[in-house]
């Protein structure tokens, strides 16, 4: 059983005794109110209210989101990446996310790599990501010495220009452009 209603920010939805406010709501002085424009869903069973937004322009990454971006800093135990895409939506948020690990093998990245990662949590207002999945890791990069094209050879990369070999944590679809940069607008 549930009830739906269109709401605007600030609309009174219920008192906290009646319902618990979930996403898209906030509580003020014992009253649950909408914080976004959208559809309020009253779940009578769990006694919760969620507001589903109509505008999804705010793209703060959440737990479980797949993000793509560029490595901006890499040390043996920690990397920082700049998020460019969240779940394939082009974002101009340019938020930074971090990943750290005690084992060196997990952090084989170089600054400038284009990577795919999964958001694990948002702690102390930092976005934490992981690469522990075969879909995750470097999806495209250029040679760090000559900026030549890098091709995959087993689990490493080789530059087609200067033959430099480089170890990386690669995603299984490394180098396939269609998977990396979706073309939104081409009419075929």
């Amino acid at each position: 059983m549930s009830k739906e209603l269109y709401v605007y920010p600030g609309d009174r939805l219920a008192t906290i005794e009646e319902f618990e406010g979930k996403e898209g709501t906030y509580e003020d002085d014992g009253i649950v109110r909408a914080s976004i424009t959208g559809k309020a869903i009253y779940d009578i069973k769990s006694r919760t209210i969620t507001v589903i937004p109509f505008s999804t322009n705010v793209n703060m990454p959440k737990h479980g989101d797949i993000v793509k971006g560029l490595i901006t800093m890499a040390t043996p135990t920690m990397i920082e990446m700049r998020i460019l895409y969240i779940n394939n939506n082009k974002e101009e948020v340019n938020l930074s996310a971090i990943y750290y690990s005690k084992t060196k093998k997990d952090t084989q990245f170089r600054v400038g790599d284009l990577v795919r990662a999964s958001v694990t949590n948002i702690l102390n207002s930092f976005i934490h990501v992981t690469f522990r999945n075969k879909r995750l890791g470097v999806i495209y990069t250029r040679c760090h010495l000559c900026h030549g094209k890098m091709v995959r050879i087993d689990n490493a990369l080789k530059c087609t220009e200067c033959n430099t070999r480089d170890e990386r944590k690669l995603a299984e679809d490394y180098g396939s452009i269609e998977n990396i940069l979706p073309i939104y607008s081409v009419v075929t």
Binding site: L70, T72, R82, L84, E92, N94, G112, D113, L114, Y140, T141, R142, I177, I180, L181, I183, S185, V186, V187, T188
Partner: protein, 276 residues
Amino acid sequence: MSRRSSIVIEHLRQEQMEALLKVGKRLDGRGLTDYRELKIETGLIKKAEGSALVSLGNTQVIAGVKIEVDKPFPDMPDKGLLICNAEVLPLASAYAEPGPPDEAAIELARVVDRGIRESEMIDLSKLVIKENEKVYAVFIDVSILNTDGNLFDATSYAVVSALLTTKIPKYEIINNELIKTNEFINMPINTIPISVTMAKINNSIVVDPTNEEEMCMDARVTMTVDEANRVCAVQKGERGTLSIEQIKEIINLAIYKSVDIREKIKGVVYGKEKEQ
């Protein structure tokens, strides 16, 4: 973040773009010499003597003309003044920052200004109230509202459309006093210059580049063509170079494309006047 830090993405986009250009296609499905949809609305700003809102695809530009009375420049005592300014407003893109116009915005204003001035679109000698003392000063201000490439053409069309619809409040000097009359005079127009901007991406020439194409382009050329199909102002930009054959191609393309756009602008401006 500067745009440059996403250089890897640009390289990827470039690869995609080049593959498509080889078969005569572009990322947004247009042919190489197609313009995006051009929309022009004039007379939006009642407080300005002339105004036009132009959208070229997702690029949106508004131009306003203000007329004031000023002293002429000492070296041109028999000419009115023409001043063109452009500003990329911070609301235009996530990368635009508030502050005085940067070098790109100043280049933009100057190239558009040059097109208007060198084509002699406006007969400045008719904008004189009293020689050596009082002339009309035409202030053209352009605000870029949304950027998606080819600001040059969008700005130029907005400026041209705004000027074409400008009504100058008539001033007279009576007993050495400047008096504003209730009459208006039309802007003295000689010709309608049309700017055509082309980008060179990996040896292909495309017309009306989008933002994404501008990020990948090697060179950019803006040519302004007058009604007699004469090229009257040119600006080449960016790092790349052009061959002599390419320049010939560009000139022909600019002249060819300018005809349709001039008709479109005339249709909007004069069509509206007929209605009134």
